[in-house]
Symmetry: none
Subunit: 427 residues, 2 copies
């Protein structure tokens, strides 16, 4: 099934917004064994959108459209659809009720332009969108489906996952696709590829692919297989999956496409019945924020201190002022004292601490921007590691937070060795 994507919005053409929606949709289609054959971006312009819609119906087997469904005057997608299909807008009461309820639950007055959100082309099947005021729309035209979704990425993603992809896949039939994903942390892409996993040429065969997808939080490793039947696609994957999961075991924290490191760590702590506290200087709350993003984290996360000022390190974490004076706030000794202080103050089994130079200012020859001491306290002892990230401020913060969480993950699991082969230093 060849699918065309239409992305609608002046903000995409003038460069205010990068078209990440099309990439995500393309990936979904590809992973389902469908072909994303073309992406066309047009502005909020009647003739251009009509023309693009017409071309897509002529050339593709199915069309996905995002954007231009909002309540303001620059949103014209619904009016173009009405013109193209020769239908009128009709008030869809269930949508109006849902949108009204959204405002009521927040105790907000209902602005009149939102009535328009419930006026939908008469020939549309309505796809409920619990995340926003514009529902998705499904049309059948010339025997081909057209799915219309809001351009807001999380609303598009919800509708793609729950409404659009299941319908497309059911319709396409076709070849079988299978994949495995591995989430990897604490190692660089080339080290993972060249030395940890090593050559895999002996296992690759037609229809079987392996891809390294590096991102700021680590590396996603995908292997995928296309074959005539699900059983054959699955069988083709097995040897490579076994090789990877054996060789890279220490670095893999999840065997799926989406699990985040903090989610894996909270699950490990929950299973172990252990608690965590944090003491963050240079990361400023990045770790506690990540951990508390995980539903149910309140069962294991007791709390943290973002100790930016030295007085906060002393008053709230019991780091002796003379320790800071002797070694500097960015030091092994202070990192260890912060972790131990957080564990004691919050009564936690484990504690993580960070103290470093996030940048762009504050660096010196001795302690350059990107230097971070990460402290750890756990049932078996206390140590710190010296990490050097040498990136921009936000990347230094994020890398420090993720490295700290990976140290915790390895300690809870009893994995020997540190991420990036960092060396633990003891008090």
């Amino acid at each position: 099934m060849r699918v065309h994507i239409l992305s609608v919005g002046n903000e995409l053409l003038i460069g205010d917004t990068v078209n990440t929606n099309a990439s995500r949709m393309g990936r979904w289609l590809t992973q389902a064994g469908l072909t994303c054959a073309r992406v066309v971006t047009v502005g909020d312009e009647y003739d251009a959108l009509t023309d693009a819609l017409d071309a897509a119906f002529r050339q593709a087997d199915a069309v996905l459209l995002t954007g231009g469904l909002g309540p303001t005057h620059d949103d014209i997608t619904k009016s173009v659809l009405c013109g193209y299909f020769g239908v009128e807008l009709v008030r869809h009461e269930p949508t109006l009720v849902a949108v009204r309820r959204m405002f009521e639950r927040r105790g907000l007055a209902f602005p009149p332009s939102n009535f328009a959100q419930a006026d939908l082309p008469a020939n549309a099947e309505v796809l409920p969108n619990p995340l926003g005021t514009a529902p998705g729309l499904w049309f059948e035209h010339q025997g081909k489906p057209l799915a219309v979704m809001p351009g807001v990425p999380r609303e598009m993603a919800h509708l793609m996952e729950h409404e659009v992809m299941p319908r497309l896949v059911a319709r396409a039939g076709g070849r079988a696709y299978r994949d495995r994903y591995y989430q990897v942390v604490g190692i660089g892409e080339s080290t993972l590829s060249d030395w940890v996993i090593g050559p895999v040429d002996d296992l690759l065969q037609p229809g079987l692919t392996m891809a390294f997808l590096p991102h700021t939080e680590g590396i996603t490793l995908r292997i995928s297989s296309v074959a005539d039947t699900p059983a054959r696609a699955e069988a083709a994957l097995q040897p490579l999956a076994t090789r990877i999961s054996t060789k890279a075991a220490a670095y893999i924290f999840a065997s799926d496409a989406h699990t985040r490191l903090e989610t894996a760590v909270v699950a490990l702590l929950t299973e172990a019945g252990r608690t965590l506290a944090t003491a963050e200087s240079c990361t400023g709350g990045w770790i506690s924020n990540l951990v508390t993003n995980v539903p149910g984290s309140s069962a294991v996360f007791l709390g943290g201190v973002a100790a930016y000022a030295n007085a906060a390190k002393t008053d709230l974490l019991d780091v002796p002022a003379d320790l800071i004076a002797a070694h500097g706030a960015v030091s092994k000794e202070v990192a260890i004292a912060m972790a131990a202080g957080a564990a004691r103050r919050f009564g936690a089994d484990y504690a993580l601490s960070t103290t470093g130079i996030a940048g762009p200012g504050g660096g010196s020859a001795d302690k350059p921007v990107g230097l971070v001491w990460i402290g750890f306290h756990g049932p078996l002892g206390t140590f710190a590691v010296e990490a050097r990230f040498f990136k921009e401020r936000l990347v230094n913060k994020e890398k420090a937070a993720l490295t700290a969480l990976d140290i915790l993950r390895r300690q809870v699991l009893g994995i020997p060795g540190m991420p990036y082969d960092l060396q633990p230093e003891y008090p």
Copy 2:
């Protein structure tokens, strides 16, 4: 001049690469007063690219194409161009010399596939590319220009800046473009549009546009104008700019395209010589993390407590245990006590606190998921507001953090009223 962009490459369709090139080119065109009317992405496929090229020549005044110029077998752009124009590839000696020299300077052997980089369509004008092995190409067809560039972002950027844009602008006879951006927070899109700014039909005129771009952190409002001269474009913007900046003054925290709320708040505190501390329960560090993302925030941010467990609220923020027992952790009283406690413990002028039900679990009829009490302490007093966000966990956290920062922004500036018309409640 209406320009179409053709982006070529399977990696764009399957979602491995996000099409940032098209965004950057769109911005260049827009800023030069040209119109980026369409972006079409196709794979490395002969018929699809030929068809897209033909459609672009029919519909646009000029065409920009990137991608598919590499030396490997999946790069077919040059062969499509030869087929489309009915010409042959011809060896271009200056290009061969330049590519050879690149390898020599790096002390590398010259792989034979690079000879193909100097074989160019006979009707092309060659645009030198000092950053890579594939030169840019310039064609004239049916009185319209076609510029072809490599897909490597920095090579595309070099050619756009030095070769393509100057030619296009000279040809278009230059219209002038001007814009203004406003960053807005603490209000919904429809409320802003319908009630705060109100109808602007009296000010709109040909060439003048207004766009609302909602995103998770707020709304970006853009007005832009195209006219014969810079002075006319500027003059056309003025009345609308004045209307917006007057009517929406309380909600605008920056008058540019990219400033974030936390950056604006840190700048305000720095200017006022005031300090901040945080006490976060349901936001878990989101506020402190945002604030410490800002370079120089250490001058105003003293620190924060992520007080997830009740014991942490009592031990580190001096919230009386019987206050929590009497009102519950999610209450006006506890929010106020947390803010006051953080200000006292850290010795800060201002303090923000949050306590709420982030979800997905933990809600009740009385205190549903999405309910957040936001506490404020400042030189002029202490209060809390009850906000009801009713979203998913991460959105609830983010909205609570941003609303807290907006309350602080308003208090520092002396703006009466709260974001979303929330009502302050005093002890």
